[in-house]
Every structure is written in C-alpha cells, then in structure tokens.
C-alpha cells in the first residue's frame, strides 16, 4: 500500500509518501516541492546586501544566516591576509544574539510543534493544556518565547529580520542598563523553564542523570517523557546514529561521531549532491522528487542538530539517555530541551561578560571592492544544526553564494541506496501520526530546506 499525505505545521509544507507492509512503513519519501531560489537571488548583488538578504531565507533562524554571512565575508579578508580585528564585545553580542534566537526557537518548537501532537495521542484530559491556541501551556509557551526575544531586540533593534552584525563587528552600542535589561529577560526565561518546563530548580536539573529523575516532577518535560514511553517513542525515530557539528562556540564543540569515537571535521569534505533533487531549467527525471539537496561529509550522511551537539559536547543527561534509547524521538527532543536549558544559563553569563567600553565595530581598512576575486566560508550552529555559507565575490559583487542548511543534512533525500537521515528514521513507524512526530523531531523547516 502506498499513501501520500501533506504535512503541515512544519514551517512550510512537505509531502510524505509512504509504502506500507503489515501496517508498518517500509519506505518513505519526504518531498519538498517549493523553491524560492535564494542562491540565484544573491547572484550579482553587492556583497553587503547579503546581510539584508540571507536573514530572510528563514523567519525563525535569520540571525544564524546573518552571522554566517558576516563571518563568510570576514573569511574573505582572512583569505587575502588582511584579517579584521573583531572585539570581544562584538563577538559576544553576536553569540548572545544567536543564542537568544535559538532559545526562542526551541521554546516555540516544543510548545507549538511537538506537544500539541504528542498530547493528542493520549485521551487523558490533563494533556488538554497542550492543545494549540486554547491550551494554557501552549499559551504560556508563546508568552515565554516572545518575552525571551526581547533580550535580542534590546541591542539588535528588532526580531525577526535585523542585520545588526557586519564584517568588522556589530552596529549597536548597548549601555550598561541595556545589558541589565537583557539579563532581566533571560532571568524571566529561566524562571519559565524552571517552573513550567522542568518543574524544579536549574541547579538540581544539572545533577540529573536519566529520565527517572523526572518521575516525581510535574513539568512539561515529565509529561513529554510519559507520553513518549506510552507511545513507543523511545524506540521510534532512530536513524544512522552518526552525528556532525561543523562549528563550535561557548556551549558546543565541533566534531563528528560514528558509533563512539569523536573525530574532528574538515569543512572541505562537506559537499552537496543533487542526484535525486529537481534542477533548475532541466526536465525532471523519474528519480527526482524534491527540491532539497543531499548534504554529505566525506560521502556519508550525518545527522546534525541539538542531539548531535549534546553528544559531541558530552552533556551528561543526554549522553546517558543516548546509551539507553539511542537516537530515538525521545532522546532527540530531550537533547533539544536540554540545550535550551544550558543555553539560557550560559547566555546569562555571556551577557555579563560584555565589556561596554570596547568598540562595537572597527571599520575594515580595505574595501571589499579592492580585493578582486575571493572566496569566503563560514559555519555556525543554528537552532536546527550546522549551517554553512560559502560566498565568492568579484570586486565586492556576489558571483556565487552556496548555503547548506541544517535541514538539508537531516531532511534531504538519500543517494546511492542510502536513505536520508529523517527518511531512515521514519521507516518502521506503525502509524501516520507517529511518522509525523518522528519527522517533527528533526524540526522540519521546509523554507530552510529548499531556500
């Protein structure tokens, strides 16, 4: 039997085509049929305009694209031996900005995209609070997200779609009271996380070793774990269990893991294939079914995202859960919430480290126009995983702009007999509702996937 279904509520739309045998999915295709052509749009545009364009690739992870653009342009200066000096203040404000965006994204993803669906699988009335629009917890989640993002607007001017980072630093110059205000908003987020999400103080949470530590608690994570165990999500959603993180920051280490050994990454081994993907201006072949390409490292597929980051950075709770439940929906979603908790904690500390007496921006001595032809590359950790930008300029005009988004790693089609990451995770599911939840555990962003 073959079924075809439209998947909504995934930041855009996808089609899921499944083959069924004995009430289990034996083969699946995830089709992204919409294409916006950002890499084509960016061609022949002035280099600095990319700071305005790339955040608009995605309305939820625009700061990740902005940081990737700023750093790719800075990498061009490095490539011609004229590296720019970026003050610690500017570096911190960029990382804090991106962290806040990830915090906002994680909260919304859990309350808007995960909990309403997983709660529906249970008849227990106590889970009605996670219902979309009406549910008390759903509303609290949106409330917390919009309060968190204010901390970013304080120094970035607004969110979404600000371009406050640029080669040489950042555009804003916050006061001490601005810093304090940012701290206050993060404290409110921390309070929400303790009260609503964990149901315990963060200091206690950092001592948790496995899911049994949530047994006596009454937070949303305890509800999530119960619902997962009731519906077999500790066994469902497993993929290759090979993980990649392309860049590092205060919380994340870069690297890749297959089975157990952590190894380093070399960006030159990342490539994008389009064997099963649609191509511009070419008639479609039978095997082509999606606009998403396939990202590979050294010719192999890897999962990217919060679970990969937790494993490579060796975060205890997730490491222990992973030993027991591997890369299941349960572990993947918990890794993301664990990341949220750590990010709020660490971002508060980073805010305090900002030395307002430093410069925000040091103008480059050399104009991009004077560099001639050069290529720059950058990788940043976005909410959904590793994001790569590669730009080639000719006298400061963009000749080529490649973007590999996290969702291309996770949601692109497989090639050469090998399934893509999410494709493999879906196979084995015994209902469409569960297949959707497995798909959502990767935080599907169709707009990023096809950009």
């Amino acid at each position: 039997m073959k079924t075809l279904n439209i998947v909504e509520r995934i930041e855009g739309e996808a089609k899921l085509v499944c083959n069924w045998e004995d009430e289990k999915i034996t083969d699946a295709q995830i089709q992204f049929l919409n294409f916006r052509g950002f890499e084509y749009i960016l061609k022949d545009k002035p280099a600095l305009d990319a700071l305005v364009y790339t955040p608009r690739i995605c309305g939820i992870c625009g700061q990740a694209h902005l940081k990737a653009t700023a750093q790719a342009l800075e990498n061009i200066y490095e490539s011609v031996n004229e590296p720019l000096y970026i003050t610690d203040k500017a570096k911190l404000l960029r990382e804090i900005g991106l962290n806040i965006e990830i915090i906002d994204s994680h909260i919304k993803w859990f309350y808007l995209f995960i909990m309403p669906d997983i709660a529906k699988l249970s008849k227990d009335e106590k889970y009605l609070k996670y219902e979309a629009i009406k549910g008390e917890s759903w509303r609290k989640g949106t409330y917390a997200a919009s309060e968190s993002i204010k901390a970013l607007a304080v120094f970035a001017g607004q969110w979404p779609h600000t371009s406050y980072m640029l080669p040489g630093g950042v555009m804003s110059d916050p006061t001490l009271f601005d810093i304090m205000t940012m701290q206050n908003y993060m404290d409110q987020t921390l309070h929400f996380i303790e009260k609503e999400l964990i149901g315990d103080e963060i200091e206690n949470y950092f001592n948790f070793n496995n899911i049994s530590d949530f047994d006596s608690l009454n937070g949303a994570l305890s509800d999530f774990i119960k619902l997962c165990l009731e519906n077999d999500f500790h066994n469902l959603g497993k993929s290759y269990n090979s993980h990649i993180v392309l860049s590092k920051n205060y919380l994340f280490e870069s690297g890749r893991i297959e089975i157990k050994n952590r190894q380093s990454v070399d960006l030159s081994l990342v490539k994008e294939e389009d064997i099963n993907s649609f191509k511009m201006n070419e008639p479609r072949r039978d095997n082509e079914y999606t606009w998403a390409k396939t990202a590979l490292y050294n010719d192999k597929p890897y999962e990217t995202g919060p679970l990969s980051r937790a494993l490579i950075s060796n975060r205890k709770l997730i490491k222990n859960m992973h030993k027991e439940y591997n890369d299941s929906v349960l572990t993947r979603v918990m890794a993301r919430m664990d990341e949220l908790i750590y990010l709020v904690f660490i971002t508060k500390k980073l805010i305090k480290q900002v030395d307002i007496s430093q410069d925000s921006f040091i103008p480059p001595k050399l104009s991009l126009k004077d560099i001639g032809t050069a290529t720059g590359i950058s990788a940043v950790e976005a909410a959904r995983g590793s994001l790569l930008h590669k730009v080639t300029l000719e006298n400061s005009i963009i000749k080529n702009y490649d973007v590999i988004t996290p969702s291309v790693w996770n949601l692109g089609p497989g090639i050469n007999e090998k399934y893509g990451i999410a494709q493999k995770a879906i196979i084995g599911a015994n209902s469409l509702e569960k297949a959707y939840i497995i798909l959502r555990s990767f935080d599907v962003c169709s707009v990023c996937t096809t950009h």
Binding site: V52, G59, A156, T162, L166, M171, S172, M280
Partner: protein, 296 residues
C-alpha cells in the same frame, strides 16, 4: 457576554514565515486578546484543528490574511497540489476582508527578485476585485519585511469594531503609514544638525548621511510603537532599509548614494536646493554636546 468571534484564515504562499514569527513575538497580553476575540480558524503552522480542505469548504471568511508572494508557477511553488494563484482566487471569494501581510504578499518583495520564476507578484496583482462580491473594502496592504505585529492587531481590531479603515494610495492603512520611520527616532537631533555617525557601532550620529538610512523616506511608525516592545533598528544602530516601500529590496542598502558628497535622495517632500541650504546653515553651528560621546 458572548460575542460573535470573526473567523481568521491565514494562508502562506512564497514566504520565509517571518511575518508569522513576528506575530508570535507580539506583546503577550495583546496576542492573548487576539486569540480570545477572534476565531483563529486556520494557520498552516499554528492551528491544529482544521485543514486547508476545511478552509475550502467554508462559506464565508471574515478575515483572509496572506503571508508571502504569489505565483501561478506550480513547478516552483504549490500549496497542497494547487497553484497559489488558483487557490487564492477560490478562497478570496469567501472573504469579507483581505489583508496582504508583509511586503511579499503586497508587492512580491524579496521573493520577486528570483528572476528564474518571472511570475512572482503581490496578491492585489492577481485578484480581480469585481469578482470579490463579499469584500467590504479594498484589499489592505500591510507592508513591511516583516510586518510589525501591532499592525496586524490594530488592523483586525479596528475592522472588527468600525468596519472600515482609511487607506493610502497603495492600499496601506493611513493610521500606520501616514508618517515616516524617521518620526520618533532617537537620532533625530543629529539629523537636524547634520551630524553624521562616525561609523557603525555608535549611539551617536545620524545614519542618513553615510550608512544608507531610509528613515526620512520610508512610511512606517516603527519608531513610535517600537519592536518587541523595546526598540527599533535605527535606535539600536542599524539603518532603516525601507522595507515597507514597493522598491524594497534595493541595491547597496547599507550605504548612502551620493553625488559630489551630497545624498542623492533627500527627505521626502523637501526641495533639494532648499535642503542643501538648510544643511549648509545647520553645519555652521558647532554644538559640543552633539559632538561628544553621550556617556563618558
């Protein structure tokens, strides 16, 4: 008292979902009031109860909101197997009010720059208003990339309460777009006395002279209502890029185009020669206070 709750249907076409996330970042108590006062019937990423099929079966929609640009080209874009244009032509006939949310839905915006698909437009360019029998007033364009959440809330609440709103020549609510982004900017005094920002990264100085700021030529009230309740781009140090106007995005948005050292575009409605005279006079004043750091 139980009130009638008008039905909202929000559709997405070619978009980055930025307007959705702008709405989700609105003031929480205002957002709650919206959810309590309207029947949020359908949004592809927020609601769970109804499907697009249910939308197509509706007889009447009070408020049809569209996020994103439209195209008839199914090769690049479709919604549940329909071309965007076909779907919107069907659904728009049911609507009492149609609101294009954002510059993409209004004019095609950033997505219209994808030249390989030559058919990317704003919603108003594909609908035939004579066929829209239920429509109570012309299509409303809430331009901006993204839209400020308050613009959505104020428009919806005003239409619910008063039934009609005044629109400018471009179909935008006059209440939002009568003024300029410039109004309320904390850098206005620097603008008046022609003191330019030393570079990016400073609280001091106006971004109009070097950094490309379009505040004096862009219709919006960003600096009067503030984003995320706390700030705006120009207050923080990022130039206005004119995202509410039909010609967004332009080239070289982060620098000011000049002829012989003079900005080639001057503030809206001012004669260029008169502007240069005023500039000359203003620059003769040496105001210490404005040439120093604000906090020393």
């Amino acid at each position: 008292m139980r009130q009638h709750k008008p039905k909202i249907v929000w559709l997405q076409a070619i978009t980055c979902n930025g307007n959705t996330h702008s709405l989700l970042s609105s003031n929480p108590s205002r957002f709650e009031l919206l959810l309590n006062s309207f029947n949020f019937f359908y949004h592809p990423s927020i609601t769970t109860e109804n499907s697009l099929e249910d939308v197509l079966n509706l007889k009447e929609i009070d408020f049809l909101l569209l996020e994103g640009a439209v195209t008839s080209n199914k090769q690049f874009y479709q919604i549940s197997d329909n071309s965007i244009n076909d779907l919107l032509k069907k659904v728009s006939k049911k609507a009492k009010y149609i609101i294009s949310v954002g510059s993409c839905a209004s004019y095609g915006g950033i997505h219209a720059k994808f030249e390989q698909n030559s058919d990317i437009k704003g919603l108003q360019d594909i609908l035939n208003v004579w066929e829209l029998k239920k429509l109570k007033q012309p299509i409303i364009n809430l331009t901006g990339c993204p839209v400020h959440p308050e613009w959505i809330l104020q428009t919806l609440f005003t239409l619910k309460e008063f039934g009609k709103i005044g629109l400018d020549m471009q179909g935008r609510p006059k209440d939002i777009y009568f003024g300029l982004a410039h109004h309320g900017c904390t850098r206005n005094e620097y603008f008046e006395w022609k003191i330019e920002a030393k570079s990016f990264g400073h609280k001091e100085g106006c971004l109009f002279y070097e950094e490309g700021c379009r505040g004096p030529m862009t219709h919006s009230n960003c600096n009067r209502i503030l984003w995320n309740d706390v700030n705006t781009k120009t207050r923080a140090g990022m130039p206005c890029i004119g995202c509410t106007e039909f010609d967004f995005p332009r080239d070289n948005m982060l620098e000011t185009k000049k002829n012989i050292g003079i900005p080639s575009e001057v503030p809206l409605g001012i004669n260029k020669r008169a502007y240069l005279t005023i500039t000359g006079v203003a620059k003769t004043f040496k105001i210490d206070r404005l040439n120093k750091k604000l906090i020393e």
